[in-house]
Amino acid sequence: MTDTIFDFNGSKNAGWSQPLPLTENSSSHIPESLRRNRLPDWPRASEPELVRHYTKLSQKNFGIDTGFYPLGSCTMKHNPRLNEKIVQNPGIDRIHPLQPEDQVQGLLAIYYEMQEMLAICSGMDAVTLQPVAGAQGEFTAIRCIQEYHRERGDNHRDKVIVPDSAHGTNPASASMCGYQIIEIPSAHDGRIDLDALRSAVGEDTAAMMITNPSTLGVFEPEIAEAAEIVHSAGGQMYYDGANFNAILGKTDPGRMGFDAVHYNLHKTFSQPHGGGGPGSGPIGVKDHLSKFLPTPLVGRKELPHGDIGTVGDGFWYHWDSPASSIGKVQQWNGNAGAVVRAWAFYRRYGRDLEKMSEHAVLNANYLRFRIMNPNPDLNIHVMPIEGCPAEVVKHEFTLSMSPLKDATGVTGKDVAKRLLDFGYMAPTLYFPQIVPECLMFEPTETESKEVLDKFAEDFHAILAEDPDIVLNAPHTTPVGRVDEVWAARNLILRYPKDEPSS
């Protein structure tokens, strides 16, 4: 019906009803030259129209709630509704980050608990909750490492090593700190190539950034050796925690030899991803890096009389500034709302977070097994090959669709689009780039066996299908395959005119 929100054509005065201003003619206090003459061409709509508009838009959007979302690396697990309920509390929604400590003891207590919990789970010594996304966590940690080297007079270290399988944010974050990126190739099985690493490290190595399980979903057994190599060259080891979901309670980056790590609360700890965010990317560091952390952190003091009031259970929570803090990476104290959600999620598992990882890994291995072992009666053109020939995977795995492409011309992207027709979100496509025609699957722990069985079955059906159907997929989605090249050529980035109206 209405195509865009700008098709709502209420009267000149349409808009949100508000109480009257406290005084009249306040605008006389603004110099005339500074006054706006023409209001923005925003829609003139009523609540009924907008509720329907956005409801209808939502109907054209896929979420975990509407179907299986095996988007690898992104950990699209169920978002418990309790967490959404909790953040409606005015004790978080209506809190200003600059309120004095005594007004926000409850929030600080949650922050403190989260700092502690994340440190414990990762084997780190100190945690900040300030970074608001994984990428910002990376940036923050690399900044801390940068100051660490600087403080030691190690000013010549200007390179950061990343495997070629790393997520794009790793090199981008390091590069924003001014580092040169050394990309090292992976071994043929997608694992770290220690020889390549040995020849890459040197006196100019500031840090290495790596995730484990790797972006291929496979645990890197030689991680301790890698850390050893980097450390002995004087570099620092940075753990990209996007894959943390796989290993809680089983191992931790501290044991693996890392000095710093980020967590994606929107992955491991279920903060909803909301069409791209918000996220939250706390970082944990070992002692030697802790004084560089962004300011402030939450500390606590035991109160003289242990029994004083209920909130702090005998503690006084306060903001602390690390001695040589890099300062701020976000203006406030990070995405507090995401932290509170993650706290609620964590509380639901407590020490059983390990079970979460076990089930994430169980589901990934099960799905992989199901996909790789189709019913022999099916007429499958050709099977994909594993991105990594490991016996077990962790919480995700990759498949190369190259054989299919060679045999029928159907690419990984075509298969991905065809999956949409079956009511699934497509797996991550063409990442990591080292696996040709890569599809990356991460079922997460919150999918049932039945969903995984059905997905494997549907996947097989696609592999057995007339390639033409797959090549032209999707067929049943709100729009057909979208022309991305057209978009980039025409660059229609707003409605309808090219220039704002005022």
Binding site: L39, W42, L50, Q59, R94, Q99, K250, G275, R494
Partner: protein, 454 residues
């Protein structure tokens, strides 16, 4: 455990795979680095218990709605229409991620394209991305963006001038984002009325960019900025940090020469939320488009020529361009921007104007009331302000604030925390919800402090 559908069915699944135990799935972790025993954490809780604890803890925080409150300093105690969170948290939006598959993400994509349009209209610039993390990172990335675009064309490459009144927390973010890539930041002073010193601002001419805020940290609207383009010349990018809610009555920076406008989007769409998740706005002229940070949605067509939306210009982004990306931003603040879009759409042009007027109006009334309090002094009595203003108290701001908090008023922000030499200044923030009785309680409590402490 009500969150794991396969709990208790592990063996069944393992049997199918021919794996004998869960342990086998973790055999690939070398023994030397395996964790021993259980995580040293408390036992799991049920939803009931967690909710009870959450209510106890969060309930212990003093929320802004529970009393008259005058703390702003970059975030707004706003009123978000009930519709906004209810519709924005529909599962289809809430539980989706980056619309890599546009065919099943048209809802979010269209909403974001509409968001871009509304921001573009708001600030008077043709291009908008779909949100940065917050105002501070938006300002920081605007600066690095401007340097990328301008460095080869200006006399002072890698140099950016910044108003000295940028709030220190924001400034710190800017410093972190710029220090490593060799950008030199030079400060421009303000005069005693809080206006940018345009003579000294002229030095920025020939640099990559100048970053100023309107209103500035003291709430001051600076008419002089209208001449900034003239002062810095054509080659230097003008970046303006704006209070989005002022733009219903204040001329948008795009109309007086800004190349990039940044700011805090929070007042549209979400409460202050203890500082996050919120979202930053980022809008610019065409010349910055290909080197700007963040996500952009473009209109396109599908195989049948039907209108469709998709992410575009992704080649700027980290997942394609890796270390040469224009930003490392990946997960961002889309959902909050969606709330912002809903709020802006509900307001409409006239609602925006009313909102701005209400804020201005309550600011004026608060100023007028406090002006009559003996002992209080406006820091910038002659300058027009919006939302905030600084007042000098006879003594320590922190003590005044504690005193009036005891009397039930959150009285503003102690500017000594940002600038130690302003330890007797309070930054008082007003908003559309400030009522006459709030103002009179503020006045009464401040008066009582002045009296008691003198």
């Amino acid at each position: 455990m009500d969150q794991l559908p396969n709990l208790g069915r592990e063996q069944e699944m393992l049997d199918i795979m021919g794996v004998s135990s869960m342990k086998d799935l973790f055999e690939d972790i070398p023994v030397e680095i395996r964790s021993e025993g259980t995580l040293p954490l408390p036992p799991p809780q049920t939803e009931e218990e967690i909710l009870r604890d959450a209510e106890r803890l969060l309930g212990a925080n003093v929320n802004l709605d529970s009393r008259p409150s005058f703390i702003s300093a970059g975030l707004a105690r706003n009123f978000v229409p009930s519709m906004v969170p209810m519709i924005a948290t529909r599962g289809e939006f809430l539980t989706s991620y980056t619309p890599y598959q546009p065919e099943v993400s048209q809802g979010m994509l269209q909403a974001m394209w509409e968001f871009q349009t509304m921001i573009s209209e708001l600030v008077g610039l043709p291009i908008s991305n779909v949100s940065m993390y917050d105002a501070s990172t938006s300002a920081a990335e605007a600066i690095t963006c401007a340097v990328r675009v301008k460095s080869k064309k200006v006399e002072m490459p890698n140099t950016v001038y910044v108003s000295e009144l940028v709030p220190p927390h924001r400034m710190s973010v800017i410093e972190n984002y710029t220090q490593g890539v060799g950008i030199e930041i030079r400060k421009i002073p303000h005069d005693e009325d809080g206006f940018l010193d345009l003579n000294l601002a002229a030095e920025a001419s020939g640099s990559c960019a100048i970053y100023v805020e309107q209103p500035n940290a003291f709430g001051i609207l600076d008419e002089g900025l209208l001449r900034l383009r003239e002062v810095v010349g054509d080659k230097t990018a003008i970046i303006v940090g704006a209070d989005v809610t002022s733009l219903g009555i204040v001329e948008p920076p795009g109309n007086w020469g800004a190349d990039i406008v940044v700011g805090e989007g929070q007042p549209f769409g979400i409460g202050p939320t203890a500082g996050g998740p919120i979202y930053g706005i980022f809008a610019c002229k065409k010349d910055f488009l290909r080197l700007m940070p963040g996500r952009i949605v473009g209109q396109s067509i599908d195989t049948e020529g039907k209108t469709a939306y998709t992410l575009t210009l992704s080649t700027r982004e980290q997942h394609i361009r890796r270390h040469r990306a224009t930003s490392n931003i990946c997960s961002n603040e889309t959902l909050i921007a969606l709330m912002g879009a809903m709020h802006m759409a509900l307001l409409g042009p006239v609602g925006l104007e009313t909102l701005s007027t209400r804020i201005l109006s309550s600011t004026r009334m608060t100023i007028d009331e406090l002006s009559s309090v003996e002992g209080l002094e406006l820091a910038f009595p002659k300058s027009p302000v919006f939302r905030e203003f600084a007042v000098k108290v006879p003594g320590k701001a922190s003590e005044a604030l504690s005193h009036i908090f005891e009397l039930g008023v959150i009285g503003g922000f102690d500017l000594g925390e940002w600038w130690p030499d302003r330890g007797s200044w309070i930054l008082i923030g007003c908003d559309e919800r400030t009522s006459e009785s709030d103002i009179s309680l503020l006045k009464k409590s401040l008066t009582s402090w002045v009296e008691e402490s003198s």
